[in-house]
């Protein structure tokens, strides 16, 4: 009798690991961190992990949509930066016009009239969505590979952001966004709660709406979905729009959390998000995985980074460790897949 139950338990465990292969790694990481770093298991540290995670997490949710459709979205970092920049500029009421070349000229231009705050918020998010939709339109309608399209939008939007901010950090940040980015409820960062809510909504959308299922259908086999009458073009465009929206939200949170707009925000975040998606166990071929995988991937990267910071490992060495972990994890996942498939 006892034997049977333990067998059943192992079976369930195996099934969980097969779907979410990052879980054992997360557990191992937590154990190691707890043993070697007493500061790890403190509420303060959890808060710091939570607020770090939420920004990367938002971008990763967007990336999840793209990857489920078998696409990449490299433009998230650029969209993040541009959204944050325009947000600050609209709030300040003036922007820079930066003309590079011999004898660089920088104009400061007034914005007239200054928009109301709610409109600013709405406007910047619309810009983020629009950039995502442009991505989606070029990919789905003209058949340009997503990696090329989004790379273009990445460079373009970052260039635009730098032009508008003159490459300077912007310090005039509205108070409400700072409050949102920095305060806590019962000790839990607001940003983290916000991320969890978005994650839940994403889960509901992917599993319980027709557009969510269409994403899996198109991602799994676009020809089959097309022949079954699914609109693959609009599915792709919508998914990229959502990815843009997530990047925009992440930009606002970033500004709120740090209280400053730095033009280097979002540098390389697309690769971190992609790493999180892969680590979480979402297939790059598309059509396989879900928000729990996203959660696992983000948690893993978040805890790993936090642990290395606590251990005072240098930034350069952190890259090494991260890379090694990434490869090890993906190999482990492959092993699981081969055994079962």
């Amino acid at each position: 009798m006892k034997k049977l139950t333990s067998y059943f338990f192992i079976k369930i465990l195996y099934r969980i690991f097969r779907s979410y292969p990052a879980i054992p790694f997360i557990v191992i990481l937590i154990i190691i961190a707890a043993i070697y770093e007493p500061a790890f298991l403190t509420p303060d540290n959890f808060r710091s992990i939570a607020s770090y995670i939420s920004i990367l997490g938002l971008v990763t949710i967007g990336m999840t949509f793209a990857v489920l459709l078998g696409m990449f979205d490299l433009s998230v970092g650029g969209i993040l930066c541009l959204t944050a920049t325009i947000y600050c500029i609209w709030y300040m009421g003036y922007y820079y016009l930066y003309l590079p070349g011999p004898g660089t000229i920088m104009f400061v231009k007034e914005l007239n009239p200054v928009l109301p705050e709610a409109l600013i918020l709405l406007g910047v998010l619309l810009i983020a969505v629009a950039l995502g939709l442009i991505n989606g339109f070029v990919i789905a309608h003209f058949g340009v590979p997503s990696i090329v399209t989004t790379l273009g939008v990445l460079i373009l939007s970052r260039g635009l952001a730098w032009t508008l901010s003159g490459g300077n950090p912007l310090y005039t940040i509205p108070d409400y966004i700072k409050y949102f980015g920095q305060s806590t409820i019962y000790g839990v960062p607001l940003t983290f709660l916000f991320w969890i809510i978005i994650l839940l909504l994403t889960g509901i959308m992917l599993n319980c709406t027709t557009i969510g299922r269409a994403i899996y259908q198109v991602g799994g086999n676009p020809e089959a979905a097309y022949a079954a009458g699914v609109n693959i073009t609009s599915t792709r465009i919508i998914a990229m729009g959502i990815s843009g929206l997530m990047a925009g939200l992440a930009g606002l949170l970033m500004v709120g959390r740090t209280g400053v707009m730095h033009p280097h925000y979002g540098m390389g975040i697309e690769l971190d998000a992609l790493a999180a998606v892969v680590v979480g166990g979402i297939s790059l071929q598309g059509g396989k995985g879900g928000v729990v995988n996203t959660l696992c991937g983000v948690l893993f990267l978040g805890i790993l980074t936090n642990m290395m910071n606590l251990m005072a490992i240098e930034a350069i060495t952190q890259y090494l460790v991260k890379g090694a972990f990434l490869i090890a994890l993906v190999l482990f996942e492959r092993k699981l897949e081969v055994r079962t498939g």
């Binding site: 599993n207 027709t210 299922r213 899996y216 259908q217 086999n221 079954a228 009458g229 609109n231 059509g287």
Partner: protein, 510 residues
């Protein structure tokens, strides 16, 4: 008895791919309650025509009339609304979703919000499954489904939508005989309901079994449209399919001498080999002999062939070539030992679609052509070898540099054969060598196999086609459920014996 208005009328349909005309002024009329068979060899344009009718492809010119309304083009969505449903040759399904979700794809219950529980308890689906007498687990992932189960899922998807026109594109090819019968009775039921059925098949006997009308396509043109009862027998239909000239050549007989066991050396010997899907298989192939392994789909033939070729790992057992024990861990080892395999899945495993005919042919034997300084390839030599093979095998291609994906199925198969001829292998294994190949090419392949065997090479043919096995093999092994149950000389075998062995035991097991 005919209704006044046809369901579908295709008028002067023209379709071109890369400047090559694949459909040339094709006309087709489908009446309610009619079973219209569409036959013709590979590349004749049957599937393309049906893809146009179901909206997946758009024609260059021509009119599509459906229920008396004219459409210049239709999309898959439009076709769905019109009740036109196509069951394609290779099921178009999403691997990582469940059977039920695939059934409802493009038509999920609920407008925006969708309720997963509804998917698995849909009465209409359960009723269809029940009526057809199949076992189908709706919660299973398509990835884990067999070919037949996938085909079932496609079929249910179509039936759910109350179709008025159903197109079967070689649906029965991968199914077992029992499942084929179920589909036949289903088609008859659809006919009773006034649904128009277009039935594409390579098998001529099926046309006579169920067809009302038959349309023959050859090279993108309609050769004839005729009621089946007006046909004067199979010969007439074959004549239409292959054309006058070739009909004369469709004779093949191999002089099957009784192999003198002492005189000819054993080339390939497999002893107690076990692997995925097969157990304890022993067989041998002598020089100059064509050995057939007969068994139904799923009897383990393909797995056996792939294991001998090193594609899969054996669990136990030994393989000998000319009495020497072989250690085969990968196809590379098999090729080194001069064993070749013509795989069943030609498009995926047999050829590299985006490479030229020439590159495909010299692929396994490329080392042979390292002539210049023993490092660089001699293009001249490659060209001459490839050209002579193209001539010998009668491969229809514009030049040896044409990409293989532009070739028809039969010509692709010849390229695969040429590949092993170029590498001069001693044992050639062929898995379903003529599946999906038109009749004329089929006989080309048989003649070629005969020729190769005469050169003293050993040939092992794995097939589920009784007539093929009987026509070409000198000795026959029968495989049932992964085991070889019987070995017989050609003269001891006939259709009934083979079918009894293969199907009888399969039925008992099921």
């Amino acid at each position: 008895m005919k209704a006044e208005r046809p369901l579908v009328e295709l008028k002067n349909i023209v379709k071109e791919f890369y400047g090559v005309r694949v459909l040339d002024n094709v006309n087709l009329v489908l009446w309610p309650g009619e079973i219209h068979c569409l036959v013709g060899h590979n590349g004749a344009g049957k599937t393309v025509l049906m893809k146009i009718l179901s909206g997946v492809l758009q024609p260059e010119a021509g009119e599509i009339w459906i229920y008396g309304k004219k459409f210049s083009k239709i999309t898959p969505r439009k076709a769905k609304e019109l009740g036109i449903f196509r069951i394609p040759q290779d099921p178009e399904l999403v691997d990582d979703l469940t059977v039920a979700e695939n059934i409802f794809m493009g038509d999920l219950p609920g407008k925006v919000l969708f309720n997963p529980t509804k998917l698995y308890n849909d009465e209409r689906v359960l009723k269809i499954i029940d009526e057809m007498g199949f076992k189908l687990d709706l919660k299973k992932l398509i990835r884990d489904c067999s070919r037949a189960e996938k085909q079932m899922a496609m079929l249910i998807r179509g039936l759910l939508r109350r179709p008025r026109v159903v197109i079967f594109d070689e649906t029965t090819a991968p199914l077992s005989i029992r499942e084929q019968r179920a589909i036949m009775s289903l088609i008859k039921k659809l006919k009773m309901q006034g649904v128009g059925v277009i039935y594409i098949s390579h098998r001529i006997d099926e046309v006579f079994n169920i067809g009302d009308t038959v349309t023959v396509l050859r090279n993108g043109k309609v050769v004839v449209t005729k009621p089946v009862k007006d046909l004067k027998g199979m010969e007439e239909l074959v004549y239409y399919i292959v054309g006058e000239e070739i009909a004369q050549e469709l004779k093949f007989s191999r002089n099957k001498q009784r192999i003198d066991e002492e005189a000819r050396r054993v080339l390939l010997k497999v002893e107690n080999l076990s692997g995925d899907m097969f157990e304890d298989v022993s067989l041998n192939v002598r020089e100059g002999e064509i050995v057939g392994v007969f068994g139904v789909v799923g009897s383990g033939k393909t797995e056996l062939a792939e294991t001998i070729f090193g594609w899969r790992k054996p669990k136990r057992g030994e393989i000998y070539l000319r009495g020497k024990k072989l250690k085969i861990n990968s196809p590379k080892d098999a090729i080194k030992a001069r064993i070749g395999l013509v795989p069943e899945e030609r498009d995926r495993l047999g050829v590299i679609q985006y490479m030229s005919v020439s590159d495909n042919i010299v692929l396994p034997s490329i080392a042979r052509f390292k002539k210049v300084l023993r490092t660089f390839l001699s293009m001249k030599e490659i060209r001459s070898v490839v050209r002579s093979l193209i001539r010998r095998l009668k491969i229809v291609t514009r030049s040896e540099m044409e990409q293989v994906r532009f070739l028809s199925g039969g010509n692709k198969q010849k390229v695969v054969l040429a590949k092993w001829l170029a590498s001069n292998c001693d044992v050639l294994m062929l898995d379903e060598p003529t599946k999906g190949i038109d009749i004329a090419t089929k006989f080309d392949v048989y003649r070629l196999l005969d020729e190769i065997a005469r050169e003293g090479k050993g040939i092992l043919v794995f097939s589920s086609d009784v007539d093929e096995i009987l026509m070409i093999s000198d000795r026959i092994y029968c495989m049932v459920n992964g085991r070889i149950v019987r070995e017989m000389e050609h003269r001891d075998a006939n259709r009934d014996i083979l079918l009894n062995i293969a199907l009888g035991e399969a039925y008992v097991k099921a």
